[in-house]
């Protein structure tokens, strides 16, 4: 029923907006329990990510740590086949760590955060029907963000942070050159890269009690220089003719968000976030090799559109120590028809969450969260590889976090 209502809501959205791609929306255990809302509310140090402007509104100095083991369970049915293929069970570990400090009752707060806003871990194995497009991809972007937040008035907070991104990628695919033992050849590209950006936000409480947040996290173009290109090719192809290094870059998109907090009672917080993810910067995935005798440089079109998401979460302070949380959301994919690939078998997705927080003591809080994402079944033929079939993905993300307040 909920799904129906949501789908109805989606039909009303302009057809051109498409949200998720590699974006990982797991930046705070409390917020995850509320479907990932947090732009228009002040929950904890995760505001460094969600809205730097809200950090100055935090009552206490604190450290927040959390991890969300992510189970990405995808299935593929090749067109014309009757064999459903599944990716391997591997667990990606998005994490978050925040520290916020400021003088008690001061007007400013300083903070630093480390979190993983983009990433992907998918391993289809080296026997599946799409192995020439992808065997596995492991992509991690770790943002480190020192932040300053200032209370302009009691009701308005402004904040901004500098973002440094450390990126890691490991991409493997089969190459249809049969080796002497009958196995395919394989190409592995792995490397690390860096990028820079910023995150800024404004937070204000209105007279009616509704809180509003507006944020913009900039695009972070992550450059991978001097990555290792490992071509496991037959011996008859001279090693000197194969690349050993590559350069590439991945534009991680900007996100603009508008969030609201509603407080129907002293114990209840309802949060609503709308985000626009500027994925249209992701035009192509290009690899430039140091040697092109045998392997030409490649440019794969991606041509993403922009993504968007709508999320609604609730936090209910059940007892003095126990908070219960729940949320729903819907995300619109940036991946257009014809550009769905096994590395990001994306489609519009439906999000459900639950969580709870428990104050062990005045200083220690434990938060648990569970997020479920149902990525819609999508039948596609990739324009470049002609890999044709149906992808369907469910994502299950239990999470645990601990906060220490001082």
């Amino acid at each position: 029923m909920i799904r129906k209502i949501l789908l109805g809501a989606c039909l009303a959205m302009p057809a051109t907006i498409l949200a998720q791609g590699f974006q990982v929306n797991l930046q705070g255990q409390k917020q995850i329990g509320m479907a990932g809302t947090g732009v228009g509310t002040v929950m904890d140090g995760a505001s460094i990510f969600f809205n730097p402007g809200a950090v100055s509104m935090l009552k206490e100095n604190q450290v927040n740590l959390g991890v969300s083991p992510l189970f990405f369970k995808s299935a593929f049915l090749q067109s014309g086949s009757s064999t459903v293929e599944n990716n391997k069970d591997e667990i990606a570990p998005p994490f978050e760590a925040y520290a916020v400090w400021g003088p008690k009752s001061g007007r400013y707060k300083l903070g630093i955060g480390a979190y993983t806003p983009f990433g992907g871990l998918v391993n289809w194995g080296d026997e599946w029907s799409g192995k020439y497009s992808l065997i596995s991809l492991s992509l991690k972007a770790i943002y480190i963000q020192p932040t300053v937040s200032v209370k302009i008035t009691d009701n308005i907070g402004l904040g901004a942070g500098f973002v440094y991104n450390h990126g890691e990628v490991n991409l493997q695919k089969a190459v249809a050159i049969t080796q002497g033992n009958g196995q395919d050849s394989r190409a592995t590209l792995k490397g690390t890269g860096e990028g820079y950006g910023w995150n800024a936000g404004i937070y204000f409480k209105t007279l009616s009690g509704v809180s509003i947040g507006v944020t913009h996290r900039s695009k972070v173009v992550t450059k991978l220089n001097d990555g290792d290109a490992i071509f496991d090719f037959p011996a008859s192809i001279p090693a000197a003719s194969l690349p050993t290094k590559f350069t590439s870059q991945l534009p991680l998109p900007a996100t603009t968000s508008l969030g609201f907090g509603f407080y129907p009672s002293a114990k209840t917080t309802i949060a609503f976030d709308a985000s626009w993810v500027h994925w249209s910067v992701y035009k192509e995935l290009a690899f430039d090799y140091n040697v092109n005798t045998t392997v030409p440089d490649t440019k794969s079109p991606r041509n993403y559109g922009d993504g968007a998401s709508l999320k609604l979460g609730i936090n209910q302070q059940q007892t003095e120590k126990l908070a219960l949380r729940a949320g729903i959301g819907y995300a619109f994919t940036p991946v257009k028809d014809g550009y769905v690939t096994p590395e990001a078998p994306d489609a519009n997705r439906f999000i459900l969450s639950a969580g709870l927080g428990y104050d062990i003591s005045k200083k220690f809080v434990i938060d648990l969260s569970f997020l479920y994402e149902a990525v819609k079944e999508r039948e596609q033929t990739n324009l470049e590889s002609n890999l044709s079939g149906t992808f369907k993905t469910h994502v299950y993300i239990p999470g645990i976090g601990v906060s220490y307040k001082f």
Partner: protein, 443 residues
């Protein structure tokens, strides 16, 4: 702290559930449609037998397109499919070619494999020449692919004495056989057939440069194809047939180009201006519309001087001999015949409501040059991320003889047959996973 323990339980439970559950996609219901695949036979020539790398050998047989189709048919009521396999001890069969790496000049070094042959002797067929005989096969058989057979020969009674691959399947020894191919393949009951015949009626002409063989007359082709389909469908069997590829689009005739020969010659001596060929209309300068056979490459003749210091292929009086060249006129003749054969095949198959795999159109797509959306050039098509083209060795489809297919190529053909069968009969035979089949092996 009891509440706390419950929390842990819930969390542990959630993790367990999520680790265990798989994402599912609904699979189309298995259906044989209006066909009956319980007894499937394959009729055809070398392509049907699984011939590859210029020979018939065990690995090729195991990857024949009929055996792949039969494997896929299992889920929709397909029965056992037996093939006349060579034994493990004679797994090299007729002998075949393997790729032994690149020579210093970048050309491929292709060497014969003949350690475990299945040759049992030779039969002197008089005017028809010597026939190599292979170890007999006596068991149940569903794959009647006979390398070398033409449609022209399917009702020719002495043929079992003239083709060692056919002789091998017959009970009698060469010299005593008088069963026609068509009678032999239809002797036992069957419910479904595939037939891919007619290739050799044009191929022999093309691969011998238009001089070593004759094209089967068009009206004879029509008569025999009618007889073939009439007999195969006589007992109500359904089936699928394939058209004949354009013989001028296979690597055997597209790999060695006039331009490549001339460029090679110019490197040695810039004075060379043209490549000369012998044609029925006399010797002349070759153009890129004249096709040179792959076998010419291994003769080592090109550029050799004769007694008058005229270099082979580079002098009007010492041209590339006709048997190595399918010249422009011959190409047009071969195409004209193939088009006529295919018109015959399609009209008869359509009349009998058979499934049609248009191999002519499909294989032609492998020879077309494209530029990708991002400006990168490629030849052929992409199938599930694999670039399949008619490029020699690297194109994934063709084996080392430039005519027959690799296991991956045969799997692609099997899938094309399956698509045609499903479309015609409303069945849901699943396609084969191309990832399971190899291309040309690199050492």
């Amino acid at each position: 702290m009891k509440k706390y323990n419950n929390l842990k339980l819930v969390l542990a439970g959630l993790i367990l559930i999520t680790a265990a559950c798989k994402t599912e996609i609904d699979v189309p219901a298995a259906s044989k449609g209006s066909a009956d695949f319980s007894k499937y036979i394959a009729v055809g020539n070398s392509l049907t037998a699984g011939y590859a790398d210029n020979g018939l050998y065990l690995e090729g047989q195991l990857n024949s397109y009929p055996s792949i189709i039969a494997k896929q048919m299992k889920s929709v009521g397909g029965g056992d499919f037996k093939q006349p396999l060579f034994t493990e001890a004679q797994s090299d069969g007729s002998g075949y070619l393997k790729f032994a790496g690149f020579n210093a000049d970048g050309t491929p070094n292709i060497v014969p494999v003949k350690d475990k042959l299945a040759v049992r002797g030779e039969y002197d067929a008089g005017a028809f020449g010597k026939v190599t005989l292979y170890t007999k096969f006596a068991g149940d058989n569903n794959n009647f692919g006979v390398p070398g057979i033409k449609l022209q020969q399917i009702t020719f009674a002495p043929y079992g004495n003239l083709n060692g691959y056919f002789e091998r399947l017959l009970p009698g020894n060469a010299g005593t056989n008088n069963t026609t191919y068509l009678d032999f393949v239809t002797a036992k009951p069957f419910t479904f057939f595939t037939s891919w015949l007619g290739n050799n009626d044009a191929l022999g002409y093309a691969t011998s440069g238009g001089v070593g063989d004759v094209l089967t007359p068009k009206d004879q082709f029509l008569g025999l194809y009618n007889a073939l389909i009439a007999k195969l469908t006589a007992n109500g069997a359904k089936g699928a047939i394939a058209t004949i590829p354009d013989v001028s689009s296979i690597p055997f005739l597209t790999t060695v180009t006039v331009k490549a020969l001339l460029d090679g010659a110019k490197k040695l001596n810039p004075a060379f201006q043209a490549v000369y060929i012998q044609t029925a209309a006399g010797n002349r300068i070759a153009t890129d519309e004249d096709l040179i056979t792959l076998s010419f490459n291994s003769t080592g003749l090109f550029g050799k001087p004769n007694g008058s210091m005229q270099y082979y292929g580079l002098h009007p009086s010492n041209p590339i001999q006709s048997q190595y060249v399918l010249d422009k006129t011959e190409v047009a003749t071969a195409r004209d015949y193939v088009n006529s054969y295919n018109a015959t095949i399609k009209s008869i198959a359509t009349a009998k409501k058979l499934a049609i795999f248009d191999a002519y159109s499909f294989l032609n797509t492998l020879n077309v040059k494209h530029v990708s959306e991002n400006g990168q050039p490629y030849t052929g098509v992409f199938i599930n991320g694999i670039n399949v083209s008619s490029s020699f060795i690297t194109g994934n489809a063709f084996s080392l003889d430039g005519v027959h297919l690799t296991p991956k190529g045969y799997a692609i053909v099997a899938n094309e047959f399956i698509k045609a069968i499903n479309a015609q009969y409303g069945s849901t035979i699943p396609q084969a996973n191309l990832s399971d089949y190899r291309s040309v092996k690199f050492p």
